[in-house]
Symmetry: D2
C-alpha cells in the first residue's frame, strides 16, 4: 500500500540525517543558543532579505499557530479565518483554548479576501458586547492546495492596515506555494506584506520544524518567554537549527517542495486527460480529483488516501497528497492503475 | 572548553541516529499512529509490568509537566512542590499559565516529605477562599541530584491517598535515579506508587522525548486531545517512537544513565578525597562541590559549569553535570586539573 | 423619550427595595452564608420541586454563562448553540476566553433542534484533531422572544442523553417564557429535562441576580470555589438572597414577567391589526415588528428602541422590549402614535 | 451575639438605599451608560484631582484584582506581593487562574518595601526560564490594619519606575487608610504615585462597589471589553453609580471610614490600658489584640470574631473588625465585658 494521505509519512531528507550524525558529539549550548541555530537564523534572514526580522524555531504547526496568536492578541481580540483554515478545522480548538474566538467565513477556494474582512469588521462594532477582530489568519498554500497571488496578498495587507489588523500567514506548506508554477511571490515579499509568517519544514523534508518570522522586532520581543512557558522550547535546539541549516544552505527546501508539486501535477494532468473533474484548482502538492465510487474502491486496494467530500450519490472528491519523498515511479504506477480503471 | 553545564549538550546515542536512518523511508501513519510508537509503548508496558498503563510520548519536560498538571486539575486546585522543583524554579511560570498555583515548601535535600504535605493541607481549609491542594509534584532524581528511597516514596504515596491527592513524579532524570548505587526502586514500583510519572529521554541520550505514564487508564482518557490542542502532537510521531524503542529494546536507557552517574561519582570521589565539601549528598549525575573562588576561576578557563550558590565570602558551590556522552578521559583530566590546583 | 430598548432600564420592584431597607442593619454572615440566602434557596428548591438541586446566586448573565460552562467542560470540549445565542452574539467572547469553542448553527426562530445537534456531532469525529461537542446551550425565552414547548425540550433532552451531552438552559428571561400564553413547561419540568439552568431576575425586577440550578448535586460540587476564584462571590450575599426571597415568597416573579409579556402582546396585537408584519413569532416581552423607514423615524422622535435588521430597502424590523415596569399608558400611547402614522 | 468578624455584616448606609428608592423608576441606559455613573465618575475625577484618569465600577475586590492584573500582564509576567496580600491569601487562586504567578515575600507588618522588590528582581534574571516580575501589588490599609506613609509610597513608586514595574494599590479599605490618624496621603497623591488603584465601597457602606482608577488613560483603554468578557459588567450599572455618587457627593465616604476607625481605636486603647499586647500596630478598623484562652472563650459567648494566630500555648491574637455601622454602645459594652474578665 502506498500512502497518499499526507506529506509527513517518511522521516527526513538524507542530508539532514547525515548532518545530525556528523555533528552529533559536538557539544553545544542548550535551548536554541547553539551555533547551528544561530547560523540557520542568519541564513534565513538573508533569504528573507530583512536583517530586522526576529526568528524562532518551533516543532509543529499547531504549536506555532497557538503561540503566535496568543502572544499577539489581548483577551477580547479575535482571529479572522476561512472556515477550512487549519486553526479552525484541524487543531482541536487550540486557539480558543488560548482564549480567542475564530470568526470564520466560507470560501470555495480556501482563500480569504478583503471583502470578507470588511464585512466581519462591520459586524463587530457593538462595543463592548462583541469581540474585536484583530488578526487575520491565512495559509499559503491553503488547506485545499490553492495559493495567493502577489496582488491578492497586497490587497489583504492593505486591508489589514486600514482596519488595524495584524496579518499572519501560516506557511506549513510555504515551500509548495512558492514553487507552484503560478506563484509570483518571494520570501522577501511575504515578509514585507505580513506581520508574522512561518516557514514550514515538517511537511517538507524535516523530522520536525517550523521557523516563525516576526517581520519587525517590536511585534513581540518576549516570544522566548512564551516558547519556554508553553513547553515549546527544546533542550536540544540544535535539532531544529541543523535541519533549517541543511534545508536552506543550498536550495534544498525549494527543490523538495518543487518535487512534491511536480508529482501532484503529473497525477493531476493525467487525471484531467482521463476526463475527471476536480473539486479545486490546486497548483501545489495536494489535489482533489472527483472519482466515481467504483474507482475509489479499486484505488483503495493499493493506495491510502482520504475521501474528502461526497459530490453526488456516486462521486466523491478524494485528496491525494504527494511529498518530497514521493517516488516518480509510484506516481506513474498510480496513473497506470487509474487508466486501467476506465 | 568542555561543558559540564548540562546533560543535553550532545545529540543522541548513535543507535538512535542509525535507526532513524534505517527506517527513514518506510512510510508510516502520522501523529503517533506509527508502528514504532506502538512497539515502544508495548515494550514500556512490559518493562513497567503493568498492561493497563496509558502511555504518551512528548517532546520536553516543561511540556509534559504543564500538560499533565493542567489535565488533572480543576481550576481552583493547586500543586504542592518543593521550592527547587523544576515546575517552580525553571519553567517560566508554565503551571500558573495553565491556571494553577504551586504551593511550595523549602527542602534542603530537594525531597518532599509527608509532613510537608500535611502542613499544607491543614493551612488550606478556609473554603472557598483558599485554593484546594490536589496534586503532589516530585522529581526523581531531584533538581539537586538526590533520589527517593522506596520507603520514602511509599510514605508519600500513602499520605497522598489519605488526603485525596494525586502523586505525579517528574522523571526527566529517572534513568539516573534508578541506576544510582543507593536506589532500591524499579519502574514497576514507581508505577504502583504514583498516579502519573514520566520517563525522560531528552537528558539520557535521545534527541528529544519524554514518555508519560498514566498508571490507570481512567485518570485522563482524553489526553490525546490535550496533546493536539496544546501543540504537543508531532506529525512525525515516529521520531519519538523510534527513540524509545532503541533505548528500551535492550538495556541501553539504563546503561547510559549508569555511565553518567559513574562519571559524576568519579569526580565526586576524587573531590572528596581532596578535602572539598559538597552542598548536597548526590548519588546521580549532578554534583555540587564547594570550591574556593580561585579554584573556580581556574577551572572556568577549561570547563563550562554553573556557579550554583555562594556559600561564604570566598567559597561557592558549583554544579557539575555529566551525561551519557561524557568521556571518561575528560573526567580524568578534570580530576587531574583539580588536583593541580591544590 | 420612553425607552423600549431593554428590560433593565429601571431599578427594582418596590418590594425588593423595601425589604433591603427593612433588613438593612441586621447583621449577617458574608459570602452567601446569610439567612436570606438560605431561605431563598430553600424556597426555590420547593418551587422547583426537587430538594436535591444545588443552587447558587450570581450577579449577571454573562458571569453565569461563563462560570457554568467553564466548570463543566474540559479544555477540548465545545459548546453547541444557535448563532443568535447570547453567549455567541453578545458576550464579547466570554466562553472562548475560558478556552472553549462555540459551534453554532443558524436558526430562524432562535431555537435549537435535535437535528442540529446530530449534524454537529457527526461532523466532529476526527479525534483528536477536532473539538469534542459536550454541552448544548439554549435560552428560554430565546434571544428573539420565542419559547420552547415541552415536547421540544423533551426531544432536546433525549438527544443530549443519547450523545452524552450536557443540556444547559439560559433563563435570563425564564419568567417571560413560563408566563407566555403558549407555554406548557414548569420550573420542575425544566429541572428534570436539563442538567443546569438558571432563573434570571436582573431582567425581571431585581437590581441584579441570577439563580443557577444544578439539577443533581454531583454535577459540579466545587462551584463555590469557582464563584470565589472568578470574582463572582459577593461579600454581601444578602443582596442576592433578599431579592430572590421577595420575588418568590409570593408569585411576584411570575406576575412581573406576565405583565411584561402582556404589554408586548398588546403592542403586537395592535401592530398586527394595523397590517404590519413581524420578523419572528414572539409570545414574550420582546417583539420584532417590521416598519417602513418613515414610521421608524417618526417613532424614534418619542421612543428609544433598536433597529434589529434591515428587511428590504425601505423596511426594517425593530425590537421593542417591555418590562415589569412598563406602564400600560405608555403602551397605549405608543399604539396611538403608531396608528397616527398610518 | 454581635459580629466583629468583618466590615460587611450589614447592608448599606441609609442615604444609599434612599437614593435607590428615589431614582428607582427613572429609566436609564444599561451597562454603565446611565447618568448616575457618569456623574459619579466626574465627581471622583474631581476628588482625585486628575481629569485624565479612567474610572470603572466593579462589584467586588477579587473581581477587581483579577481583572486589573490579568489585563495589565502578559502571560509570562508575574506579580509581587506580601504573603498576607489578599490576592495570595484569600482569593482562591484568582490571579493564578488568569495565568500569573504571585511571587511573595514575608512581611511582619503587612507592608512591602523597595528592598523586597529589588531582591525579587535580582532573583529573576535567568531569562526565559523564570517568570518576569512586572507588577507590584500592595493594599492600603493592609490585611493587618497598617497603612502606608507618603514617604513609603513614594519610595515604592520610585523603585517600581526604576525596575519598569507597574504599581497597583488595592484600596478595598482605602477609606480606613486615608482617615487613620497617622495618614499623610490623599487620593490625589495615591493617583500620582501608583499606576492603578481602587476605592473600595463594599467594606465602607455600600451594598457592593469598587471604583478602579487607571491613572493614565493609556494604561488599558480596552478595560470595558474585559469587564464584559469576564462577567463583571452589570446590566443595571446605575446600582454602582448611585452608590458612589452618594458616598462622594458629600464627605460621607470618609465619615463612615473615620467612624469605623474610631470604634476600633476605642477598643484598642481600652485593651492597651488593660495591659494586653497586640500582634500588629494597626491604626485602622481592624485590630489584633492578644488575649489568654479563657478571655477568648468568654468573649466568644457574646461576640463573633476570628482567632487569627496562636501566640503561645495559652494566648492567641484575635481579629476585631469594626465598620461604618458599628454602634458605639456595642463598643462600650465590649470594653465593659473585657474589663470584667480581668
Amino acid at each position: 500500500m502506498y500512502n497518499f494521505k499526507n506529506d509527513y509519512s517518511e522521516g527526513a531528507h538524507a542530508n539532514i540525517l547525515n548532518k545530525l550524525l556528523e555533528t552529533n558529539l559536538v557539544q553545544q549550548l542548550g535551548y536554541g543558543d547553539d551555533e547551528y541555530t544561530s547560523a540557520a537564523k542568519a541564513l534565513l534572514k538573508a533569504k528573507i532579505d530583512n536583517p530586522q526580522v526576529d526568528i524562532h524555531f518551533l516543532s509543529a504547526g499547531t504549536q506555532t499557530n497557538l503561540l503566535v496568536i496568543s502572544c499577539l492578541l489581548k483577551s477580547h481580540e479575535a482571529v479572522i479565518s476561512v472556515q477550512s483554515g487549519h486553526i479552525y478545522a484541524h487543531e482541536a480548538g487550540a486557539i480558543e483554548a488560548t482564549g480567542h474566538r475564530i470568526i470564520t467565513v466560507e470560501s470555495m477556494d480556501g482563500k480569504l479576501r478583503p471583502g470578507n474582512i470588511e464585512q466581519i469588521v462591520q459586524q463587530h462594532t457593538l462595543r463592548p458586547h462583541v469581540v474585536k477582530p484583530r488578526l487575520v489568519y491565512i495559509s499559503n498554500s491553503t488547506e485545499i492546495g490553492t495559493i495567493y497571488q502577489k496582488a491578492e496578498l497586497e490587497a489583504l495587507s492593505h486591508c489589514c492596515k486600514q482596519y488595524n489588523l495584524l496579518l499572519f500567514l501560516d506557511g506549513a506548506r510555504l515551500g509548495n506555494a512558492l514553487t507552484a508554477t503560478n506563484n509570483d511571490l518571494t520570501l522577501a515579499e511575504i515578509s514585507r506584506l505580513t506581520d508574522v509568517f512561518y516557514i514550514g519544514a515538517t511537511k517538507n523534508g524535516a523530522l520536525l520544524g517550523e521557523a516563525v518570522v516576526f517581520n519587525r522586532p517590536d511585534i513581540y520581543p518576549d516570544f522566548d518567554y512564551a516558547l519556554k512557558q508553553k513547553g515549546a522550547l527544546l533542550a536540544k535546539g540544535r535539532l531544529l537549527g541543523i535541519q533549517f541549516l541543511e534545508l536552506f544552505k543550498s536550495n534544498l527546501y525549494f527543490e523538495l517542495a518543487d518535487h512534491a508539486n511536480k508529482m501532484a501535477m503529473k497525477i493531476a494532468d493525467a487525471t484531467r486527460e482521463l476526463g475527471y473533474d476536480f473539486l479545486t484548482h490546486s497548483t501545489t502538492n495536494q489535489i482533489f480529483p472527483i472519482f466515481p465510487r467504483h474507482t475509489i474502491n479499486e484505488l483503495h486496494k493499493k493506495y491510502l488516501f482520504f475521501e474528502w467530500k461526497q459530490v453526488d450519490e456516486d462521486h466523491s472528491a478524494v485528496r491525494l497528497l504527494t511529498s518530497w519523498a514521493t517516488p516518480e515511479k509510484v506516481v506513474d504506477e498510480f496513473i497506470f492503475d487509474l487508466k486501467a480503471l476506465q
